[in-house]
């Protein structure tokens, strides 16, 4: 077994080989991805320039945990770049019967797959697969357990930059189930890498992971206090199925203390915007009038998701969008 200590996301020549976590990717690399995505947004998304970048490539969406939304955006992104897309929704039940995650991947590898987009309910699955595929195969982490969801974080960064023009002047609050959230972890790494002024994470004590301050954030339990001067409010989905009845006593109590209402949003900075990775639980994390207000960037997040994922795929296979001919 080989456990390299180096960042396995970067190859020997300094190119992005896998996209597993934001951690360890520098500001330049993240900015480059955002810039490429910007290019994809600016040209007509069905333009031929995009169509050929991933021609002759096969992208397999390997989802051990079901997610129609994320899978669909990856599928659209890959198709716009001209790739062949295979969707494989498989439960990990089969792995319990004997076939391991790696067996599944090896089988698919034999079909000349170039990119695996992997989602799994266990933290570390994308890393595990990345460590055991041949050099020509790229892994994109589409969410692993509570660990990371780096493409979501990148589309959030794209959306923030689009509406706020940059990062260095921003104070950002991440509100909700930080403990179970892979989105929050990736957002924290991305925001810190891109150099925001301050990150606050706000949740009841049961949903705040221990030593979260080590990731470079301030942890708070009071939402009203935490929203002071905040420019961007990033809400997280409350995974009700994971709450086990003890992490929060009831949905009513949660909304009472941590639901984002217009009244609370008004405590934040003027022009503060609201984001949510979706799907939203209305009247639980967010009041409907906030979700549907002009302060909400939730719909642009979805649109931007496709461009950002296109940019990441293009980066992985080394395709330069500026060089391709129409």
């Amino acid at each position: 077994m080989n456990w390299p200590l180096k960042n396995i996301q970067i190859d020997g020549a300094g190119r992005l080989r896998h996209f597993l976590t934001i951690e360890g990717l520098g500001r330049e690399r993240l900015t480059q991805i955002l810039d490429i995505a910007q290019g994809f947004i600016e040209v007509d998304s069905r333009h031929k320039a995009n169509m050929s970048l991933l021609a002759d490539h096969t992208v397999v969406n390997l989802f051990f945990e079901d997610s129609t939304r994320t899978r669909t955006t990856f599928e659209i992104a890959a198709k716009r770049l001209g790739a062949e897309v295979v969707n494989l929704n498989t439960t990990r039940m089969s792995t319990r019967k004997g076939e391991t995650v790696l067996d599944t991947v090896r089988t698919l590898e034999a079909m000349d797959t170039d990119i695996f987009v992997v989602r799994d309910s266990a933290s570390g699955t994308a890393h595990l697969i990345a460590r055991h595929v041949p050099e020509t195969v790229h892994i994109i982490n589409a969410g692993d357990g509570r660990h990371a969801h780096p493409t979501q974080a990148m589309l959030d960064m794209f959306t923030i930059r689009q509406h706020k023009g940059g990062f260095s002047h921003l104070k950002v609050a991440i509100v909700g189930d930080i403990l179970h959230s892979r989105v929050a972890r990736s957002q924290i790494h991305a925001l810190n890498t891109l150099g925001v002024k301050e990150i606050r994470v706000i949740a009841p004590g049961t949903l705040l992971p221990t030593e979260i301050e080590r990731l470079g954030v301030t942890a708070l339990t009071d939402l009203d206090e935490g929203l002071q001067d905040i420019d961007v409010v990033m809400l997280l989905r409350l995974q009700l199925e994971r709450m086990e009845g003890q992490l929060i006593p009831s949905t009513q109590e949660y909304f009472r203390c941590y639901g984002l209402t217009m009244e609370r949003l008004n405590r934040a900075a003027a022009e503060a915007v609201v984001m949510h990775p979706g799907p939203m639980n209305r009247e639980l994390e967010i009041a409907s009038d906030v979700a549907d207000s002009e302060r909400s960037l939730i719909l642009s997040q979805v649109t931007n998701g496709i461009a950002v994922r296109m940019a990441i795929m293009a980066q992985l296979v080394g395709a330069d969008p500026n060089a391709s001919q129409p």
């Binding site: 077994m1 391991t100 570390g124 595990l128 692993d144 357990g145 660990h147 990371a148 221990t210 030593e211």
Partner: protein
């Protein structure tokens, strides 16, 4: 077979001996050097010049995987691995399949060990039938079959009343109770220490409280029943303080720690290195240092291997789904000696943690080299450095995060009952 071990540095912490001295062996036992005298005619003379001669190591916690999991390892493979690094007595937890909860199983394990004729095997009797935590085993019968201690392995008896009665009953028959301090509710499906690394990697946690809460219960039951308890593995600094306090109040409790908890921390998990998936989990560096301090102050009596060999694909899974455990038998001596090179322990003190102390706790007649003692002996070069290489490991399990590390201490001879069970080759 008469043996003469010549010119080695004899370290026998049980008798407070540390000097260059010859050792004479006849009929499997140590002979009084005065009596042996010049007339002693050895069949073989072992030249131990420059080497340490100490009692064979006693490992209080090693899984041999037999019976029940022979696809992972066999008693034969693991007992050979044991003697190759000086381990001559192995205490086996009762969570084999079938469980060691009947005298027949105890006999079977012991007999199998004797037939393989390498390290000695000491099966722990189960505390409850099937380790289910409900009904007590026939402990008197287990004792008569040869058990000196009982345990419920890692299957925590969650009913405190059952646990109290089990302790009362075990102490009736003078059996030591080996205890795993881990609250099953707080452990849940956790797999790593609750701290910086769990937060960064998003892995389910086994908080420090899982150990401290369980330890508090076991200590309260030891205090009120008078049962003799041995906590097999501590992982937290706070647990060391609790044991210290219990000892100061005169409670009959001893404690152990695994060799890997003394050299690794949560940080070694890096990016999901499943070889560092162990239970109890690797904790913070502060905890690790407190464990070392506990050893130095003799609050922790024993270093065990917590040997858990696995097939190679058991670790090729997402971290939380990989099998916990390290194949630690072959690094027990070297990791213990490393504490000497780190100036944590003196050499005799370090060796006492893997020889005299565990033998005393298990209540077996080994771990010393006085006249009449069984000639279980380990002869090693303390200065020689070797590199851990999974290809060369004798254990069937190669799951060790120490792969590739250079460690001190190379064993040249291992004797069990005066018989050479391992010989590395001539020392050059």
């Amino acid at each position: 077979m008469r043996l003469h071990i010549h010119n080695g540095r004899l370290i026998d912490s049980a008798d407070g001996i540390d000097e260059v001295r010859d050792l004479f062996i006849d009929k499997g036992r140590i002979v009084d050097p005065g009596e042996a005298g010049a007339d002693f005619c050895a069949d073989e003379v072992i030249d131990a010049t420059g080497m340490i001669v100490c009692p064979g190591l006693v490992d209080l916690q090693a899984r041999l995987r037999e019976p029940g999991e022979e696809h992972k390892a066999t008693m034969e493979s693991e007992l050979n691995a044991a003697v190759s690094t000086g381990v001559t007595s192995i205490c086996v937890p009762p969570d084999t399949n079938p469980v060691i909860d009947t005298p027949a199983m105890v006999h079977m394990m012991r007999q199998r060990g004797r037939r393989i004729n390498r390290a000695r095997v000491y099966p722990l009797g189960a505390l409850t039938l099937g380790l289910e935590g409900e009904r007590l085993t026939d402990m008197a019968a287990l004792r008569d079959a040869g058990c000196t201690a009982v345990s419920n392995a890692d299957n925590i008896v969650d009913n405190t009343l059952v646990m109290r009665r089990a302790m009362q009953y075990a102490s009736t028959f003078d059996l030591t109770v080996f205890l795993t301090a881990l609250d099953p509710w707080l452990k849940g499906n956790g797999c790593v220490h609750e701290g910086e690394v769990s937060t960064r990697l998003g892995l389910p946690v086994i908080p420090e409280a899982a150990e401290i809460v369980a330890l508090a219960r076991e200590l309260a039951l030891i205090e009120t029943t008078g049962a003799r308890g041995h906590i097999t593995q501590l992982s937290c600094g706070r647990s060391v303080a609790k044991i210290k306090d219990a000892r100061e109040r005169g409670l009959p409790v001893t404690a152990g720690v695994s060799a890997h908890h003394l050299h690794l921390s949560e940080l070694d998990i890096g990016e999901f290195d499943t070889r560092c998936h162990v239970i109890p989990p690797l904790r913070s560096i502060r905890d690790r240092e407190a464990l070392k301090e506990g050893l130095a102050e003799d609050i922790i009596d024993v270093i065990c291997s917590d040997h858990q060999p696995h097939g190679f694909d058991a670790k090729l899974a997402p971290f939380s789904e990989s099998a916990p455990g390290i194949a630690g038998l072959e690094t027990l001596l070297s990791l213990t000696l490393k504490l000497v090179s780190e100036s944590i322990l003196s050499l005799p003190q370090a060796l006492s943690k893997v020889t005299a102390n565990p033998a005393r706790i298990l209540g077996i007649d080994v771990g010393y080299l006085g006249t009449g003692a069984p000639a279980d002996i380990c002869i090693f070069d303390p200065g020689e450095i070797w590199t851990v290489d999974t290809v060369e490991m004798k254990s069937r399990g190669t799951n060790t995060p120490f792969d590739g590390q250079s460690l001190p201490g190379v064993v040249y001879w291992t004797l069990v009952a005066g018989q050479v069970t391992y010989f590395r080759g001539d020392h050059t």
